[in-house]
Amino acid sequence: MVEYGDQSEEPFDRRRFLQLTGVASAVAVAGCANLVNNGDDENESPRHVSHVNQVPADIQWNSSNPANTPQITNRALFDPFVKYNFKTSEFIPYAISEWNFGGNTFELTVRDGLTWSNGDDVTASDIATQLRIGLYTGEPYADFTESIKTPDDSTVRLQFDSTVNEQIVTFQILADRFVHQKESEFGTYLETLKNDEQKGLKELGDFAYREPIASGPFEHDSVGQEQLRLTLRDDHPDADNINFDEYVFEYRESNQQAQQALQNGAIDSAFSLFVQTDILENFPKKVTQIQTPSNWGYGLYPNHSDPHLSDRAVRQAIQYVINRAQVRDNVSPDSKTAPEYPVGIASDNQQEWLGDAIDDFDTYGVDSTATEQATQVLEEAGYKKQNGTWVDSDGETVELPIMVPSDWSDWNTATDTVVDQLSQFGFQATKETRSYDAMLGNVFPNGDFVVAAAGWLYGSPQGSFPYFSLHHQLVKNNDAVTYNYPAADGSRGGNREDVTVPARSGSGTITVNPAERLSELAGSTDESTVNEITVEQAWVTNQDLPMLPVLEKVEQTFITGGEEWDIPKPDAEVAQVQWANTWLPRQGEMQYTGN
């Protein structure tokens, strides 16, 4: 069983720090950029200023309401169940201090001493409330969870209707989940859901949680168009690790504005901010970049209802033509990687899971435009080149408009390169842009695209376990894109059909049903079965290419150190948790030094 890792360390005493530094040091640091004047008495207190790319006044903290949900601010306001460390590949207990897996049960223990910002204790009943709400709102664990009970004030027990895979349960219930739906605030919605599910979903989905009761070390103080101000809660178990009183999120609309703010010291940190290599080189030395895997990245979703893209040969030809290394170098070699094998498994985990079988898999040319193979596969499928352009047997041109979010600069660069590579080969490729909101709102759900740029992996931390990304590619992607892949779920435009691909070794073909096989994997505790299905389904993704992998992202988080902030080295184990600028303070690893 897992121990609560940092309790043995002596926590930093905030009060002692204040005693030592006293008023004199407060005056001494008065010139610092990130000090705030708290009113008439001219008391000045240290604060950390971070970046948010949403208008703060628009943010609401009800995760069951899809509109304006927070992207980073929730991580200071609410405690995570656990955190995943990318260096050790282990979960770190936090608000859930222990968990026990029993094949068809999963028991969680709530951390001792955890309170809400209104003074109430965080109880098992609060945790159960939000997990029960998840049963109605379509959380993945709803597929196998029979009941959720609270044997005592600090224990939550989930009972499953069958045996399930431990890794899948652990990732689905613990990862990326926060203590944020207090029973007193959300219990009423749960009651409505029990009585009338449709009405409950409507009411819950409409509820904008504007003044949240926090479970994290900071609580909601004030909010405006440009700034969200959170203040430290003295009664949080980790409050003594934090020696600054305010955590402020300032609005910067674009990447470039956030980059400028980091460069000129207007903000102290930024999470998941794409920064190109040459800009990075111009950042002040005190700005530290922390890189973590994202298990996510730029890929292309072919619309399988398109007359050409429904042909596997065209998908394979596109994958052959795209020179992934060149796309990576054009975008930013420091923050992007080119996956070695186009499969539904993140690069870091491909060798581990595919083992010796990996040699059977096709790379489609990671650092080349494999025109010969592309030509061969197209000609075998009846395509021919006419006046330099590929046409099908009816003379119809292969048109490939690639839709990309207009506001994602790195993806635009990648798409420009891909379009050029495909055009040079003879496809009629173009770039089309839409705002990401428009893509989420109309383009994705309606399948209103020929090729759409979207994430080809599930994302962190679930992306570390192959099941999630294979499921994402083959059955039900978490971008809710109707890509009409026949093997996919009905909600994604498919019919959960069988797929026939060439056999992995030797001649002939194999026919499998990805939806059934992955369901089998999810219910298996046998390691060899899990491995066998993983390799088999990875092979299906490699041969049938339901999505086309192009790049993987390396997450970039920036924290200003120097004389103002004492922070660990970027490769320190404690920093390999997302997102470092909200995790390090809890660990006493991001200290305001006041110089």
Binding site: Q256, Q259, V275, D278, E281, T413, T417, T430, K431, E432
Partner: protein, 339 residues
């Protein structure tokens, strides 16, 4: 002043005992003298016209010959991130994707020029049509057309264009030009109507009307030619508006990115290359900015130079018909410049 009948090659106009026979070639000669040579002479005398015309010639050459001979930009055609003047293969440097910056500027020119022409022609064409018909016909027609212009004028231009651009996502530069000037013509139409209101009282228009010449002929032969200088000036201004509007909307990402445009180049330099952070890629912003400023300057100078044509006193003197305006040589009239 002459006017011809519908069924004859010649026309005889009798005045106090004298007879003048005007042939087709005479009329062509007159037209050339009146509407091309003299205005041209007046315009060319102004150095702003000469410079403006020279600048515009450069763009036309760049759009025709440059785009024909200079390699089209594409990723990885040259080394990534080259600075300006480092190598002849990319004289103005390259982007982070290895695209030649000069190639991007040159290959955006043809579509910019087509856009500018179509926008200018549409705006001035509609304005002339509505303004002249409204001004000449008067009465109900005038009231209807004026009300229509008022409605068009009262719709805020930029939001309207943005909505239309998002809905239709036009790719054809001709359509984009038209879209950008979708209600730009309204103000110009009102000015032209005012001009026509004075012209329609002129004796030669009165004479044509008395002789039963059709309205369309009067408009095309008597009124519109007299408006041409004014129309030309406004054509240049409308063209400049199209340049700025298209650049702005491409920069904002409202127009589709599949069309080459300097605005798109600016947007790429800003968002993809981080040209404003650190300054390393600033040259990628400067190149399209110079192209935009150059064409705007060319059009402004051309418009201001042509504006002189509109001043009858200067025009007459420069055309060698009168010495009455000596001493006013340095007098210049300026078109209002709307940046």
């Amino acid at each position: 002043m002459v006017s011809d009948g519908p069924d004859t090659d010649t026309f005889t106009f009798e005045t106090s005992g004298s007879t003048v026979e005007v042939t087709w070639s005479d009329r062509l000669q007159d037209f050339y003298e009146e509407f091309i040579y003299k205005p041209g002479l007046v315009a060319w005398d102004d150095r702003r016209t000469r410079i403006g015309a020279a600048i515009m010639s450069i763009y036309v050459l760049m759009g025709i010959l440059g785009a024909w001979f200079y390699p089209a930009p594409e990723s990885n055609q040259v080394e990534r991130g080259l600075g300006p003047f480092e190598t002849l293969s990319a004289p103005l440097g390259s982007t982070g994707s290895g695209e030649d910056v000069l190639g991007m500027v040159i290959h955006a020119t043809p579509e910019m020029l087509i856009m500018v022409m179509s926008g200018g022609i549409f705006a001035t064409g509609v304005a002339v049509l509505i303004g002249t018909v409204a001004g000449y016909k008067g009465g109900t027609v005038d009231r209807a057309l004026t009300s229509f212009s008022d409605v068009a004028m009262s719709i805020p231009g930029l939001p309207l264009v943005m909505v239309l651009a998002v809905v239709f996502r036009p790719r054809d530069p001709v359509l984009i030009g038209v879209l950008l000037t979708i209600n730009y013509w309204a103000g110009l139409g009102r000015s032209i109507r005012s001009q026509v209101l004075t012209l329609r009282e002129e004796s030669y228009v009165e004479a044509s009307r008395t002789m039963g010449v059709s309205t369309s002929r009067i408009l095309f032969k008597d009124i519109i030619p007299n408006l041409m200088p004014f129309v030309l000036v406004n054509f240049a201004n409308a063209a400049r508006y199209v340049v700025f509007a298209s650049v702005g909307l491409y920069y904002l990402g409202v127009l589709p990115s599949s069309v080459d445009n300097w605005g798109l180049q600016l947007e790429n330099a800003y968002s993809q290359e981080g040209a404003l952070v650190g300054g390393e890629a600033l040259y990628q912003l400067i190149a399209p900015m110079i192209a935009i400023m150059g064409i705007a300057l060319g059009l402004i100078l051309l418009a201001q130079g042509l504006d002189r044509v509109f001043n009858p006193r200067v025009r007459t003197r420069l055309a060698g018909e009168s010495e009455a305006t000596a001493g006013n040589e340095d007098r210049e009239t300026n078109t209002e410049v709307n940046m």
